[in-house]
């Protein structure tokens, strides 16, 4: 065995954790959320850290809450509050919107298990 082969094996072993999380991890759970305002990109945020976020829309500010890898509309200045009632999103591909306030949220994952979600 040459030194180059040894180096290759060491690097291959070092790559295992990356491969595990990429190919055997829970691909259904999202890692980030993409937020659009009026159909235009506003932010892509990680779901790893709990936080509340104000997003300015057409009617006013909507509040998004991130908790335990999930995201939801905590509050919005719309009348119907359907966005708030739609609850938490956590699966890659899930999406919701406050249509009156023109804000939409979609959960993104590295290797989504589903191409789209029926509900």
């Amino acid at each position: 065995m040459t030194r180059a082969d040894l180096l290759a094996i060491v690097l291959a072993v070092a790559l295992l954790p990356y491969l595990y999380f990429t190919y055997w991890g829970d691909g259904a759970r999202g890692e980030q959320a993409r937020i659009l305002v009026g159909g235009k990109p506003f932010a892509v945020i990680s779901l790893a850290h709990d936080q509340r976020l104000s997003v300015p829309g057409t009617l006013g500010e909507s509040t998004l809450e991130i908790h335990d890898g999930k995201i939801r509309f905590a509050d919005s200045p719309c009348r119907g509050k359907q966005c708030v009632h739609s609850g938490w999103l956590e699966l890659s591909g899930e999406f919701t919107a406050c249509l009156p306030n023109r804000i939409s949220v979609q959960v993104l994952g590295r290797e989504p298990r589903f191409d789209s979600i029926n509900f």
């Binding site: 659009l36 119907g80 938490w88 298990r113 589903f114 509900f119």
Partner: protein, 337 residues
């Protein structure tokens, strides 16, 4: 060399996947396109936004639209001239309504309005029982709508049209046809959960997750076969609560009250309009009668989840579906459809 081979085998070429969310009027539309040029995909996104906006403005049940003008004319017992582009959906709705034995009944717009569902924010209270009974007794159906060329008239003064149960499915079908006309043959159109797919995602089929109607997460997944729609109607989608009781928006035209027995129905079918109408009709039919209604509507694959959480599913769909929930539901296989 070994390392180079190893890394090469792990690397993935960038995928020709285009995904966009369209904030159309009345619907959030998620489109996924495989294998098209970015410019073409972008143009398709813009075209679909226009389609969805146009359909929303045409068929809206309570904001000024072509449909509210039709309803006004029918209310006054007059002849109503309509644009030729409205006729296909009107005829389709008539046909589907008849096949569903009027369990899918877009002629009960008055009943839907009486319940307060002609509002962005349905609040209740539930309507007076006598008012509901009076409307049910007048029994408006799509057979009462007479279509003569491009002129409509109603044989029943209680008839008011509401296409809430198929408008979204119709828009999805229009969008898919538009994508095809633009030369796009591998795509998913998802309008607020109602899905139609065409083609594949490269070498593999498109995979769809079905959200669990009992709470969070995915109850099941399915690999789609070419051109196919999957639509779910659920009692959790629109509702109001009054004095601790929940009243959902899928009304049983026979009783005039929210349908009982099922919490969701998922239908797979070639086109989204049929899947949309059938998912409503089967939910109204409930766990005892859904099979008969599915058969008469030509539906071959469907799944009903009853209020106890039991999954009723036909053998064909049962073969294709994969239950994903950590605690698998109780499943009862129905007769073939």
């Amino acid at each position: 060399m070994l390392l180079a081979t190893f890394l090469w085998s792990c690397g993935k070429p960038s995928e020709p996947l285009y995904q966009e969310q369209l904030l159309a009027l009345g619907a959030l539309v998620d489109i996924t396109i495989w294998g098209a040029e970015p410019g073409m995909a972008q143009a398709a996104g813009n075209a679909l936004t226009e389609d969805f906006n146009r359909i929303h403005n045409t068929w809206h049940a309570w904001k000024p639209s072509a449909l509210t003008r039709i309803n006004e004319g029918l209310r006054n017992n007059g002849n109503v001239s309509v644009d030729a582009e409205l006729l296909p959906l009107l005829r389709r709705a008539q046909e589907l309504s008849l096949k569903s034995n009027n369990l899918f009944n877009p002629a009960v717009g008055k009943l839907i309005a009486l319940w307060g569902f002609h509002s962005d924010e349905p609040k209740g209270p539930p309507p007076d029982a006598q008012a509901v009974a009076r409307l049910v007794a007048r029994h408006p159906t799509m057979a009462d709508l007479r279509i003569d060329g491009a002129t409509l008239r109603s044989a029943n003064p209680a008839l008011q049209l509401d296409f809430g149960a198929i408008g979204q499915g119709y828009a999805v079908d229009v969008a898919v046809e538009h994508l095809r006309a633009l030369g796009i043959h591998n795509a998913i159109v998802n309008a607020s959960g109602d899905i139609r797919v065409i083609g594949k995602r490269g070498e593999r089929p498109w995979r769809i997750g079905i959200r669990d109607p009992r709470g969070q997460g995915i109850i099941a997944s399915i690999e789609m076969q070419g051109d196919e729609s999957i639509v779910t109607s659920g009692t959790y989608e629109r509702y109001f609560e009054y004095h601790g009781q929940r009243y959902h928006h899928i009304l049983d035209p026979r009783s005039g009250y929210p349908a009982r027995g099922a919490i969701s129905v998922t239908v797979l079918h070639g086109d989204a309009v049929t899947a949309d109408a059938a998912s409503t009709a089967l939910l109204v039919a409930g766990p005892k009668d859904w099979i008969h209604v599915a058969r008469s509507m030509g539906v071959k694959q469907a799944m009903l989840i009853d209020t106890a959480g039991v999954v009723h599913i036909d053998p064909l769909l049962a073969k294709r579906i994969h239950f994903e929930a950590k605690s698998p539901p109780k499943v009862e296989l129905s007769e073939p459809l």
